[in-house]
Amino acid sequence: MSWQQSPHIRTFKLFALVVGVCLASFYLISSVLIPVIISFTLYALFQPAVTYLARHDINHSLSILIVLVLLTIVSTVMIAFALPALVEQVSLLQSRLPQIAEQLEQLLTVYGDKLSARVGADIDASEIILSILSKSSSLGQAALFEVSNRLVNFVIIFILVPFLTYYLLKDFKRARNEMMNWLPNSSFELGWLIYHKVSTQLQAYTHGVMLQSLIMATFCSIGFTLIGLDIPLLMGAITGLFNLVPYVGPIISILLSLLVGAAMTPFDANILYLSVLVIVGAQIFDNLVVIPAVVANAVNLHPVQAILGIIIFGSLFGTVGIILAVPAIAAGKIVFKNIYTDIANANLKATP
């Protein structure tokens, strides 16, 4: 058998073709990628609810409308509640930055002197603070500008997502069947098998991580309320949301809670320690209880694969890549494994 006919090489070629088609599709829809991803996530989440209503003799289109109207009401209320609070918090944080800097300067002066005495090098606290302050101030302004700038995009997404979700819930299966019929006879069953495995895994993953985020948001909201952190519900919700991004998300959550804690008056260092404790505690609870019970087996990825995937996808596709890395790698593994099995089986039969 020549190396070109090796099952591995043929699998790589076919897999590269599949990946190429996927990337080209993503490129074509890149301008509406975020609403499409949100709509598919909502489709995966709400398809069971539509099926449930349809099973109880409610017309299919009416079932979709009922689910979407409920979803729109709930999300509108949540956004109306969360967005002004978030903008207010960013403004508040910016106005308190000098005060935080002053407190940090005091801390650094005390500990800097001790450190200088130990290592024998000069540490200029005021220089460090000025540098941090100038960067933080411009960062805060940039964040405020970004929030207002993105409001238009946000409104477009808000209108587009229910529209797309409605048609996905209504016509996705029909469109899917039509596309699967493009497959040649020799790959028809294999194509459906791969689709079945990937869709089952992605649906289980979506349900798992959404439930996981909800549990984490509840856990952190209660924790932040108990320790007395500002805007505990919003911070809990944000922590739950960032939990969607494995490994990197919790670190961002800790940094955010530290910023909010540092912006509180009077400044209390204990709040910072306790905020970290709440998130670390939530992570321990997540890893020991929630993941084994809710997300386990949804994606069978080694932590190293997941971390490398997040870094590579993140550098290639930004935030969207970070969120999609884990499900995309899990789906890629299924596709590769099934193509390889099929090619290896065909090779085995062809060998006399």
């Binding site: 099973r55 069947n177 039509e178 065909a346 085995l348």
Partner: protein
């Protein structure tokens, strides 16, 4: 040529308007397929309208004479009904069956993720109906009671085939 009934025969969508003249015999073909499936033990005691709804999700594929449908060891995605033409089922070059209109095969794939246990080849130009496990699972979500009835029928069919195979082995011994 290949298409699914879902495109060919369903309601008044734009897609249907666009494709309608290409698949104008879709309705009558769906009725034929429904009747053929209803004649099999798999659909015993399942009302016609529900069988027709399930058949509307199935997939039609056309095979040329001599074209391989599946081979031993392939991963199976579902059962297959012969709508027209002839199919030869064989294992290790020994013919096991010659199937014609209304016969079905590969139903093990509806119940288990096992590999195909035989080779199937179209011996004349054939039109086959694929009934995929994916479609069965989606139908069961909508119709759990009828789904339970179908799975009972499937179990009985598989048990009968196992019994027949055992008898054949016993005779050979």
């Amino acid at each position: 040529m290949c298409y699914s009934f879902a495109i060919a025969v369903t309601d008044n969508s734009m897609a249907n308007v666009f494709w309608s003249n290409l698949f104008r015999n879709g309705d009558s073909e769906l009725q034929v397929v429904t009747q053929l499936w209803r004649d099999t033990p798999l659909f015993a005691d399942i009302p016609e309208r529900h069988t027709e709804a399930l058949c509307a999700t199935m997939h039609l594929r056309d095979f040329k004479a001599g074209e391989v449908i599946f081979s031993q060891g392939d991963q199976g995605a579902g059962a297959i009904l012969v709508l027209s033409g002839e199919v030869r089922v064989s294992a290790d070059k020994a013919e096991l069956a010659q199937l014609r209109d209304g016969d079905f095969f590969g139903e093990i794939a509806l119940a288990a993720s096992e590999r195909r246990t035989a080779d199937a080849t179209a011996t004349s130009a054939s039109r086959l109906v694929y009934f995929l496990k994916q479609d069965l699972e989606e139908w069961i979500e909508h119709e759990p009671r009828l789904g339970a009835r179908f799975l009972m029928n499937l179990s009985a069919t598989l048990a009968q085939r196992l019994y027949a195979a055992n008898q054949l082995i016993a005779k050979q011994l």
